[in-house]
Amino acid sequence: MDMTIPENLDSLLKQVTGFDEFREGQEEVIRSVICGHDTIAVLPTGAGKSLCYQLPVHALGGTVLIVSPLLSLMEDQVAQLKMKGEKRVAALNSFLAPKERSDVLANLGRYRYLFISPEMLIQPYISGRIKQLKLAYIVADEAHCISQWGFDFRPDYLRLREWLEALENRPPVLALTATASEKAIRDIADYLLMKQPQLFIHPPDRPNIAMELIGLDGREEKTEWILENLSRWKGPGIIYVQSRKRAEELADLLRSRQISAAAFHAGMETEDRILVQQQYLNGELEWICATNAFGMGINKPDIRWIIHDHLPPSAAQYIQEIGRAGRDGGQSLSTLLYSESDADTAAFIAMDDLPEPETVRFIGRCAAEGMDIAEAGERAGLSETAIRVVSYWLGRLGTEKAASQMESLAAGKRNEIIAMVRFAEGRGCIRSRAMGLFGYSPAVRPAHCCSECGLEPPQILIARTSAENTPGLLDWRKRISGLFGV
């Protein structure tokens, strides 16, 4: 391939995005990709990760294949690109109707950005078609999901390795993630068959997010704390909760105090999830009470406050979630409400999806007798995710090793929770200790650092002056006139 690598990427940036300058960390990553290196980039949420995979293709030509394990995130990125006027973008995932899928497949060579879920990628027909494309590079988005040590481990993602193995001429791979421990980075390099990858790691520290840790005694106290504080101070913000029920409970309680809030979780209809997102982006909604699964799609620059109603089961998840605040660079706050019983709940939920070694042996025996693994898993009462995990490891390692694999996975998860408990119960600068969980220390100590460093939240929060009036039901003629601006 004959290609000149632009000395100066600024003009490319200007031409494609209209921006004059890169944000910190972007340029090195983009240069590495254009030079054809396998690259791992760990950039904090809000650092402009997406530009890292969006820009190089403009210098290289061809199609970028973006493998993304989280459907909501994929949809969001496709929508963002389309919003920016990019027409050559498509997504292949299980949301597509058969007709749409065949439309995308018929035009495959036309796209600049092709998003795909791992389970689609390994389907023989689709895989064959993609192999015929001129791929500029392959992006593994949310790469921490590939690591069994990551909080978002997606077993399907591991199949990407097999797919890469089967490629004759593998284009460079770019792995992107916001947070990854050393262990996870090793996993990523290994699973993606990377050859001497270029590593760009930026600590997940966000100086504009002040950190607060508050110990409370149980759920009722948390509810009280939230209601009292949100009545006094304004958002916009997100409250991360552990269950759909809690999301709805809190949203209802806030509404009863004239604070505009809505729940956001996987149990809602797609249309309603989009509406809640719209309202939040528009500023019609101040608070979202969300479970972790669906915070992903929210891309709002002026989020001022993230509250955790529970202990996140891993440092990576915690940092990723608080990182949704203050993307505009404005002063923001993150509050972790912790009570002693949180550890047990976190452990229960984290382990819930992980099969016991005994179960793996049972499924192994069933499989040996010719039973379908999915059926055996169902008999053992496993969730779909768990069945996929077991099925993957059984196929790769055999019964005994797969069983002990489950033990080490469980131990890994337990360790992450223990680390979070120590973090929540410990003393000393919260920012330093949070960064310490990733093996870094903060570069600077911001003026509003954390509750251990003398943070006074009232200094950075904005007082609520008057209760909001919830609008009534508008007459349909008026509403339609208003919508059309006539």
Partner: protein, 363 residues
């Protein structure tokens, strides 16, 4: 009509011969032989596929409510029937204006196109070309993009608003109902409401709101079919079912017409024999020229018809006892053609505009 009343209405038609699942599958629009057959026997066309994403929990809650209030009860074998109170309540209900058989959930596509069109006009006319579309469905996005290149090209917002308002006006739906309908629409700085929010604002349950919304769409779509206007016709293109057959049954029908036998079709299509049988029942229900006599002797057909009339039942298990010599498949085919004896098809096409009243209304 509330969700409870809809279910009561359905159960009243099922006439104590079916289990609660029959009503659930019907509302979800399950394309199985059994549900299609039920739809036909019990004249349930208005309700077919009215709530494709109905959740079993919501359905069961409603069912339990009707049980608890003594409007319905179950026989020993689990089939459900209306109590005296239930019959009284059912006969006091207004007409159903749903038209599920014709739209089969496609009314949601119409709404998605409408909502995206309005959102687009609203943003673009405010000078905003970047917004998050209310419909993530690529097919809907493509349809709307096409509309802006054709029927909407050069149209002023005020013209589009006028056609929509006049269209809604012509349906005769009351203002409060239309306001609840319009509350789901999104524009610049004005997002639609979730069901939960709308429920909080109106005091109606989420299920009742959804049912009302589907019915409003059916009413409007029927009106558009009767009196087409340019934009609304374009928005509703293709939402009416063209063929009453499911796609899969259509393929089976084609192969059968090409001269293949059932086992051959099953083999060729790599489908189970029972699935092919379901297809044949579906074809028999819908095709006035279906050659029933190739599947059963004329005297058997006659005997089954008489027995079904005598016992006033369409229950297979009952008829099977009277005709142990006939297969379930044969009985289902004969029942499928019941009331549409040779040549004089009694099936009135609910697909015609204005027609659903015949199959749908009253009790």
């Amino acid at each position: 009509m509330s969700f409870d009343d809809i279910l009561l209405n359905i159960i009243s038609r099922l006439d104590g011969e079916r289990y609660k699942h029959a009503a659930f599958h019907l509302m979800k629009g399950k394309r199985s032989g059994q549900t299609l057959q039920d739809t036909e026997y019990y004249r349930l066309h208005p309700f077919f596929g009215m709530l494709p994403s109905l959740h079993a929990n919501d359905f069961n809650r409603c069912y339990q409510r009707l049980m608890a209030s003594g409007l319905i009860a179950e026989k020993e074998d689990g089939t459900v029937f209306l109590t005296a109170d239930g019959r009284k309540r059912a006969s006091s209900l207004g007409p159903v204006r749903l038209n599920g058989w014709v739209y089969r959930g496609m009314e949601q596509v119409f709404f998605a196109r409408l909502a995206l069109t309005i959102q687009t006009v609203s943003h673009v006319s405010a000078g905003d070309r970047m917004f998050m579309p209310v419909s993530a469905d690529p097919a809907v996005q493509r349809d709307v993009r096409n509309l802006f290149g054709t029927v909407l090209r050069g149209r002023k917002p005020v013209e589009i608003a006028l056609e929509i308002c006049e269209g809604l006006e012509s349906t005769g739906m009351e203002d409060d109902r239309l306001s609840r309908f319009a509350a789901r629409l999104t524009g610049k700085g004005m997002s639609g409401m979730t069901w939960h929010q709308l429920s909080g604002l109106t005091g109606m349950s989420e299920m009742d709101l959804k049912v009302e919304w589907v019915e409003s769409l059916h009413i409007w779509l029927d009106a558009i079919a009767d009196n087409p206007t340019p934009i609304l016709s374009a928005l509703s293109r293709g939402v009416r079912a063209e063929s009453p057959l499911t796609d899969s049954a259509k393929k089976t029908d084609e192969l059968y017409r090409a001269g293949m036998g059932m086992p051959e079709i099953a083999q060729r299509r790599n489908l189970k024999m029972s699935t092919i049988e379901d297809h044949f029942v579906e074809i028999a229900i819908n095709d006035p020229t279906f050659p029933l006599r190739k599947f059963a002797a004329p005297e058997d057909i006659e005997a089954v018809r008489n027995e079904a009339d005598r016992l006033a039942t369409r229950k297979l298990s009952v008829l099977k006892k009277s005709f142990p010599g006939l297969s379930y498949f044969q009985l289902r085919l004969i029942l499928a053609r019941l009331g549409k004896e040779d040549g004089q098809d009694g099936y009135d096409d609910p697909g015609k505009p204005g027609q659903p009243a015949k199959t749908g209304h009253g009790l």
